[in-house]
Structures are given as structure tokens and as C-alpha cells.
Symmetry: C2
Subunit: 327 residues, 2 copies
């Protein structure tokens, strides 16, 4: 199978038509027309087999997730997605794999009207790099560097489910027996969070002009809030008891295990953001309207670093703050 | 070594400052300001160890080449480069490798004022994906689909040197003895073409509004002209005796081997283009002014496909038209 065919299969599935794509796949580069009055947001993430996804991940889930983690970066900036490029490295030209991958990728692309405008398929160890482009009105992107002491800290949705889902896949995990005895829909809901995360695109747009800083929770809540603290030059206090948990997480893990998953588990792709308390009521109403819950989990303080606090205000130290490559 | 440090090392070396980069590396996405009145060109290419570059390639050469092959795609569209993203997958965090890679990447980025605005470093088998962005005034990008019967076909520079350089590295190649007995600067000039190709950015800009179609020669001349023929709905005839050869290629290979290298060898990164004969004199003068030679190698005809012709006009059939992934 020729390289061209692989790209063509994927392109044919991702048939989102956009007027701002003047020339798509098939030349040396795509020709695109950025909208006037907007800034262009660009982000990229690579997923490597065995590092970022377990070996048994289906092609369809991998296609979905490789786009989802990138759209999540745009969501964290408040951007509206527009275009994607896909660099797919495969050990062999496997038509079934490519069909499944394309199906998962295209399903999420269609939801957000993302056009696939370029790509490269190469022969080698399985790995996926996606690049996404989106827009915000000029000067209105959300950033990590605007948190102010006195702001409150919020997070969308629930935390720890994806990391719990990963444990469901590990037969050596001591929790596995309990997990396998859990109702099927409980396990499935955790695996769904791991394999098919939902980028919070609409929530990110709602946060524009309201949040003072925003980041997506990909490496783990405390690690990601640490980036906000550094870039904003502030400290952040997180109340352990306030961290939102799904019913599946509550059913399957005790309080201590749950906290570790919520505070340090990666792959949540929720948005953590800071804002002035005065803006909270309106924003929470706007988020509720688009079906996105958000929970107040802490506060921005003068100083540096992120501290996880118990109900008495004493610091809790976890073994592992989150995922760090080459750590 | 943490992921962040690797990106930081590379970012620090690539210190091109651009007013259109509103926020570079360090947030969830870069914030960029595309210039009004221009189209945005985007392209990506992946290089995988052992597939796209030989195992002994230095980190510095790999850094250079990973950007060069992408800038070559922009050159083929007549675009002025602006921004790049880099997804680097490494088996281990090797500071020496990263320093060398960054040095090669940054040297070429500085030449073309390309700002590195995003990236991802991950742990896994060595592979590099680069994405480049560039601009052309609205509607003026060069494309593959404009060749017309009656146009002449040209190519910049010389052909076959990179493929000859690859043979210099193969100790099982029957030509190796002759290659090793060649003057050192002859071998070095071929290896330079293989490892440190020069993207024809200025030539591509000069071709805007003049060439009817353009492509970069990455997969081999005949294979790449085949893409032009398909997209333009025309046939192309190439005169074998007209293909330009470097003095190194002339010194080391007989006519038959030379022709195979020139017509089918990949990795040249010259520009092949078509244009009306009436435009030739002015364009060749403009190209000469920027130090870029160009040679007329054939003509566009009605019909389909690419035919390589000898001096008598008879077709020459080569074993292998060029590189095809998963072929």
C-alpha cells in the first residue's frame, strides 16, 4: 500500500468542508485563509505506543484520543478549532488499523468542524503526532500567566477517572479484583474517560474574558496547576476534600486512593482555571447551560508553588505529583 | 531530565524574535498573528531513524535536515517561512544529542528567520516531526495543478547528489571502492547534499506569478513530476541528456548510473517547475541574481504520465522510479 493511499483513506473520512481551506491535502502544503480580526492558536502533541497509550488501545480510540488531547490544548486557550495535521507512523500498512483510526479521528473532527489539511504517513514504530489550529478574537486567548492572589481555583467535570481506567487494565494492580467485580458500566465509564476523553471546547470559549488563567489537566491536577503558579508568579492552595469525583470513582476506591488519582492522575482533559470570585455566579450558570459542571477547589495566594490541604488546612504530601517524561 | 528541559534547550537556541509571535512556547498553545492580505501555508514531514536517515546521521545534521525538508515544501509553494513546531521522540534524554540537534535546527531556522513556537518531546524510538508555517500574498501560492501543454519543464541546481551521498555510506555498494578513492572534497560534497540540503526558499519566491506549477524533488524527479502531471491533467516528457549533474556526480558515476541517480534518487530538495517559454529569460536572470541555477529538462504535453526520453526521443525505462513508502 502506498503512502498516498493511507492519507487518502483518512482524508476521505474527515470530510469536513470549510471555506477557509483554500487547498487541502495533495500539494506540498495546505493553503489556508485565517479569519481577519483573530489570533491563530497552534499546538501539537505526540502519542507513542506503550508510553502514552496501553498496547491494547483500539485503533479507533487512538484516532479519537490523538485529536482530543490536542483539541483540549485549544480549549484551554479558549480557542475555536479549525484545522488539523496528522503525522502517523505505522509499523506496516494495515488497512484495518487505518480504517479504525480514521473513524475515531473523523468522529471527533466532525463534532468540532475540524478539517484535516495535511499529514504524513511513514513506516516505523507506532506513533501519532497531531497539530491543531484554532482562533480567538484578537487578544482574547486564555493563558496560564494571569492568575492573581484572591482568585478562586475551579476545575470542570470530575478528576481521576482516566487514571482509574488505566488501573482497570493492569492485571497486577491490587485493585483489579475489586474492579473486575464492579458493575460493567462502572468499569466502562472509567475506560471511556481513558480512551475517549472529551475536550472542553465549549467550556473554554465560555471562559474567555472571565477566567484569569486556564490550563488543561493532562499531566495531573497538581502538576498542571504548578505550571499556572510558575507562569503567574503566585501560589495555589487546593482543598483535597473539594476535588470532584465521579460516582464510579467513589464506588471503587477508598478516600486515600481516590485522592491520589484525582490530584496526580493524568489524562483527565478537564480545564482548571482561576477567576475573581465576583465573576463566579454568571460563569457557572453559563457553563451549566452547555452541560459542563465546575467545582471550586481552591484559591490563589501570594507566594509560590501548589499545596494540597486537608480539611484542617494541613498540607498533604503525595508520592508522585504527576507524570513527567524522562523523570 | 524533564520534558520541559529538552524543549527549553531547543527553544533557547532557536531565538529568532518575530513580532507576529504573541506567545511562544510555554502555554497550551502558541498565539500567533497571521499578516493581513496573506494566505497561510502549512506543511509537515516526519523523519524516522533507519527509514528516512541512516543510523550514523549526526544529531546536528538531523536537526538541520528535519527543518530543511519542511522548508523545501514551503519553497515549492512560493511561501516565506515564519513559524515551526517540533515533535521530537527520543529513546532517552541524551543532552549531547539534544544540543547537537538544536544547533543544526537553529542554524537553518536563523537563516530563514523561522521562530520555533511549539513542540513536544516524548520518550520512544527516534523520530522527528516538524510542522512549518509560511505566507504568500493572497491567492499567489504556487501549486502542482497549473501545468499547461506547451510549458517547458525546469529544475533548479543539480540532481542525484543526495542519492549518490547515500551510496557513499553503503560499504556493500559496488561503487564504494571508487567512492573511497575519490578526493575527499568530492565525497564530502555529496554527503553534504544528503545530510544538509538547502531548501530553495528564495527561488520559490522568485517563481511566484511566473511558474505554472511547482514541486520540490523529494521522492525522485520522475516520481515528483508524476504528481504534477496527475494534478494538472497533462503529460510530461523529460530529456535524459539535459538533467543537470554536479562535478562530483560526473567524476564518480558512469552515464547509466548517473541517470538512475538523477531521475529516481530522492532527497534532492531542488524545485521542479513548469512555465510558459515566454517567461523564461526574465526568470532565469532573476534566479541567477540569487545564485540559483536552473536547467530546462523537458516539456509539458497533452496526455498523461511522465516519460524519460533519450537523445533520439525513445523512451528509457528505469527499474525504480523513486521512493514509495510501504511499497
Amino acid at each position: 500500500m502506498a503512502e498516498f493511499d493511507l492519507i487518502e483513506i483518512i482524508r476521505a473520512r474527515c470530510s469536513v468542508a470549510r471555506a477557509d481551506v483554500l487547498l487541502g491535502i495533495g500539494d506540498d502544503a495546505a493553503i489556508l485563509a485565517p479569519p481577519p480580526g483573530h489570533d491563530l492558536l497552534v499546538s501539537t502533541d505526540t502519542l507513542v505506543a506503550g508510553v502514552h497509550f496501553p498496547p491494547l488501545t483500539t485503533a479507533r480510540d487512538l484516532g479519537w484520543k490523538s485529536l482530543a488531547v490536542n483539541l483540549s490544548d485549544l480549549a484551554a486557550m479558549g480557542a475555536t478549532p479549525a484545522w488539523a495535521l496528522l503525522a502517523l507512523t505505522l509499523p506496516e500498512a494495515d488497512r484495518t488499523f487505518v480504517d479504525g483510526f480514521a473513524e475515531g479521528f473523523a468522529a471527533l473532527a466532525a463534532q468540532h468542524r475540524v478539517a484535516l489539511v495535511g499529514g504524513d504517513t511513514t513506516s516505523g514504530p507506532l506513533s501519532v503526532t497531531v497539530v491543531v489550529h484554532g482562533f480567538v478574537p484578537t487578544g482574547r486567548a486564555l493563558r496560564r500567566d494571569g492568575a492573581q492572589p484572591g482568585d478562586h481555583v475551579y476545575v470542570t467535570g470530575t478528576l481521576g477517572d482516566a487514571a482509574a481506567g488505566l488501573r482497570c487494565l493492569d492485571r497486577h494492580d491490587p485493585a483489579t479484583v475489586a474492579l473486575f467485580n464492579a458493575p460493567l458500566d462502572t468499569r466502562e465509564s472509567l475506560l471511556e474517560r481513558l480512551h475517549r476523553p472529551t475536550p472542553r471546547v465549549a467550556a473554554g470559549a465560555a471562559l474567555r474574558d472571565v477566567a484569569s488563567a486556564c490550563i488543561d489537566v493532562s499531566d495531573g491536577l497538581l502538576a498542571d496547576l504548578g505550571h499556572v503558579a510558575v507562569r503567574s508568579g503566585v501560589g495555589i492552595e487546593v482543598d483535597a476534600l473539594e476535588l470532584p469525583a465521579s460516582s464510579a470513582l467513589l464506588a471503587l476506591f477508598d478516600a486515600s486512593e481516590r485522592l491520589a488519582l484525582q490530584a496526580s492522575g493524568g489524562d483527565d482533559y478537564e480545564l482548571a482555571f482561576t477567576m475573581s470570585p465576583a465573576r463566579a455566579a454568571d460563569l457557572l450558570r453559563d457553563l451549566a447551560r452547555i452541560g459542563c459542571g465546575a467545582t471550586r477547589i481552591g484559591r490563589v495566594v501570594a507566594g509560590a508553588g501548589v499545596r494540597l490541604l486537608d480539611a484542617a488546612g494541613a498540607e498533604i504530601v503525595l508520592d508522585r505529583r504527576g507524570w513527567e517524561h524522562f523523570a
